[in-house]
């Protein structure tokens, strides 16, 4: 299993990086840390490339390398038990250019589970390009960077599951909030949540929301199945059934001390573009980290 972790800068991406490392450890997944820097316009590329090649001769490296170096050193501290990572060294001369990206070769880390990548361009486009190159199960991103319609673009256009670690504070004790309904994606999100809960010993709550007072058999059945699955894996779970507007209820219930885990919407892409979806609206309105499972 492989995860993609997008960072923006050493100033803002500390919590995202740590959250990404924890989640990838929970799944024993490979982690590709990618920094997406600014791409200059075509007319400017020639002089810039010439200048950057010359700067490298003075040991002044491509902008963005320092962010990767910071991420590398942080990961060494976050994952002290990763011996390959601990013994590896960051050498800017070991950057290789391929597939319109810069890839850091970590020479002493054969089998190391961490990769470092530098890309330049528009964030969503570059993440999509990176996701195309390998089979990624999850993209982890801070959520402070990006486009005008960030929530929609992240959920709609990234072909993997997405964890948006917005407002994540690792000093805080989070509970996992699994949003359960009768969709196919709920099953996957419960499995995803269970893996994290098992490793990190986080408390789990399931929440099922109906617009009317009556909960159909699909909803209540899904909630029971989720509970059974979690208990089968020795994960204690609290169940909640609430009535009201789903998105408002999710946001009110989650406050800022839950990590929301929910399945992706089944609506068509066009409908999502014009009217949004529950994950998109929840992401827009809440201040807590959200994992949208596809």
């Amino acid at each position: 299993m492989k995860f993609l972790l997008a960072i923006s800068s050493s100033k803002y991406s500390g919590p995202t990086l740590k959250a990404g490392a924890i989640i990838s450890q929970a799944f024993n997944a490979e982690l590709n840390v990618v920094y997406v820097g600014t791409k200059h316009k075509g007319l400017e590329e020639g002089p810039l490339d010439l200048s950057r090649e010359n700067l490298a001769k003075w040991n002044i490296y491509h902008p963005g390398i320092e962010v990767l170096e910071w991420a590398f050193k942080e990961l060494q501290q976050i994952c002290p038990e990763n011996d390959e990572l601990k013994s590896a060294e960051f050498n800017p001369e070991h950057i290789k250019q391929e597939h319109n990206r810069f890839k850091m070769i970590l020479p002493t880390t054969v089998g190391c589970q961490v990769e470092l990548t530098l890309r330049e361009g528009e964030l969503i486009q570059e993440l999509r390009e990176e996701l195309r190159l390998d089979d990624y199960a999850l993209t982890i991103i801070g959520g402070s960077q990006g486009t005008r319609n960030m929530a929609h673009d992240l959920i709609q256009y990234l072909p993997s599951s997405v964890f948006i670690a917005r407002g994540m504070d690792l000093e805080k004790k989070y509970k996992l909030l699994l949003l359960v309904d009768d969709s196919e994606a709920t099953k996957r999100s419960v499995r995803f949540g269970a893996e994290i809960a098992k490793t990190e010993q986080w408390e789990v709550r399931t929440l099922t929301v109906s617009k009317t007072k009556r909960f159909g058999s699909g909803y209540s059945g899904a909630a029971e199945k989720a509970k059974a699955y979690l208990e089968k894996h020795d994960i204690p779970v609290e169940q909640f059934f609430l009535t009201g507007d789903p998105v408002a209820t999710f946001v009110d219930f989650a406050r800022d001390d839950h990590i929301i885990i929910m399945g992706a919407s089944r609506a068509t892409p066009l409908k999502k573009l014009f009217f949004g979806s529950k994950p998109i609206q929840t992401l827009k309105r809440s201040n807590t980290p959200i994992l949208v499972v596809k």
Binding site: G46, S51, Q156, P269
Partner: protein
């Protein structure tokens, strides 16, 4: 048909391409051309409008923009494929191609370390002298070899000084901004000094020849424009020092550590001597032989010699040159010529003059204002060379002396001080991440006023004497 997320994403990414082509299609099919403009001229202006949108928003890569410029000229511009091809490649394009190759050949030799030594020997370690020295050296070198090559060579020197000065490597640092802007603005100010200072200068020379507007030799150009460069150098250094006052008056430690860094370069090698000697030969040929053999042709001879002496490999040239730029300028010049041939340039010139005639009744002053304003504004949005390629034919149709108006337009196109995209030198220092977009505005407006006043001074007092 089910529209997938990928399709929606593509539409979102390419919306400016769709907007540009849709606008072009609507204008072509449904909107009649204005009176006084030929149908071919109208179609050429539609192509230019679409291209400007594409260059500004870049929804497709730069070479693709160049390609559409070529095929539209044949499909709706009324030109034959061979006609477009014949305008596409000329001495100006040879020069742009040759100067890009020369930059790769020279920068790869590591001469910047020797240059750093030379500059520091002249300036010493006082900050204001280093800033003034950087401005002067960047301007003088850039006037002969172009700003991007100079900036590429000077930037590591400045960044090394910044790195070795405590508390300077921040965007808020006056020293950082002063050193970086001294290179960028110095190189930009200098780039107008000789025809070889920038692609736009040669593009204008090409238009003069193509439109039968007269000509200027390399030395005549220098005689007319170089005094302006010399006036601007000290004022530029003064503006930079006042706008970004350095926190440190003396760069003692940084200079010492720079000299240690540079000392590793060892003794001057035969290769380096040959590199400089060949460039001196090219420069001399530009000055004395360019009227007969062409600036571009001489640049190509220089590249041939660099390759023949093994100073640069084709692999390095191939990977180091942005061929998309060569394609774009070839295509832009060809449409510039079509603008003139179809009457589109004359119509635009009349429109600009008519628009401002009530404000500025004196026709000579009006022509000067139109050429300077058009070039100065557009160069802050596009690039200076692209500006001259598009605006040049319009300016040369304003009436009056095409040499003087052309020069004024070329000079004004170097007034791209306000944004990081206007000049390659500005882009390069901006990409270091140590100066921010507002820094360009802080110093840019002062530079723009100073440059306009310098241009007026030279145009009113010096040009009547020498032209």
């Amino acid at each position: 048909m089910r529209i997938s997320a990928d399709m929606i994403f593509w539409l979102q990414q390419k919306r400016w391409l769709l907007i540009a082509f849709s606008l072009g299609a609507v204008l072509y099919h449904f909107v009649p051309g204005p009176t006084g403009l030929s149908l071919e001229g109208y179609h050429i202006l539609i192509i230019i409008l679409m291209t400007l949108i594409l260059i500004l928003k870049e929804p497709v890569p730069l070479p693709a923009i160049a390609l559409q410029l070529i095929f539209w000229q044949v499909i709706i511009g009324g030109s034959t494929p061979n006609e477009v091809g014949s305008y596409f490649m000329n001495d100006a394009v040879f020069f742009i191609m040759g100067s890009l190759m020369l930059a790769v050949a020279i920068v790869s030799q590591g001469l910047d370390k020797r240059m750093a030594l030379g500059i520091i020997r002249i300036t010493g370690n006082q900050t204001w002298r280093i800033v003034a020295g950087f401005t002067a050296i960047s301007a003088i070198l850039s006037s002969f070899v172009g700003p991007h090559m100079v900036t590429a060579m000077m930037l590591p020197v400045a960044l090394t000084l910044i790195r070795f000065t405590p508390r300077s490597g921040k965007s808020s640092s006056g020293l950082t901004a002063a050193l970086l802007f001294s290179i960028a603005y110095g190189a930009t100010v200098g780039s107008i000094g000789t025809p070889s200072g920038g692609g736009r200068n040669v593009i204008m020379m090409n238009y003069w020849a193509e439109f039968g507007s007269g000509s200027l030799s390399y030395l005549q150009w220098m005689k007319m424009v170089y005094p302006m460069v010399l006036i601007e150098i000290p004022i530029t250094a003064f503006i930079i020092l006042k706008t970004f006052p350095p926190e440190t008056r003396v760069l003692d430690t940084a200079v010492r550590r720079l000299l240690v860094e540079v000392a590793h370069a060892g003794k001057t090698t035969a290769r380096e001597i040959l590199t400089v000697a060949l460039f001196a030969l090219i420069l001399l040929s530009w000055m004395t032989l360019s009227e007969d053999y062409g600036l571009g042709n001489i640049a190509l001879i220089g590249i041939f010699l660099y390759m023949a002496f093994g100073l640069v490999s084709w692999k390095d040239l191939n990977s180091g040159v942005n061929w998309g730029v060569v394609l774009l300028f070839g295509a832009t010049i060809s449409i510039g010529v079509q603008m003139k041939n179809t009457g589109g340039a004359a119509w635009l010139a009349e429109l600009s003059v008519g628009f401002l005639q009530s404000v500025i009744p004196n026709i000579d002053a009006l022509r000067a204002v139109v050429s300077v304003a058009l070039s100065g504004i557009m160069s802050n949005l596009l690039s200076s060379s692209a500006t001259v390629a598009v605006v040049g034919p319009v300016v040369l149709n304003l009436g009056g002396d095409p040499i003087l108006l052309g020069l004024a337009s070329v000079i004004a196109s170097a007034f791209g001080y306000f944004t990081a995209v206007a000049a390659p030198a500005c882009t390069i220092i901006y990409s270091s991440g140590l100066v921010k977009a507002p820094d360009f505005l802080r110093a840019g407006w002062k530079m723009a006023i100073m440059s306009v006043l310098s241009l007026m001074l030279v145009a009113l007092l010096w040009w009547p004497v020498v032209h």
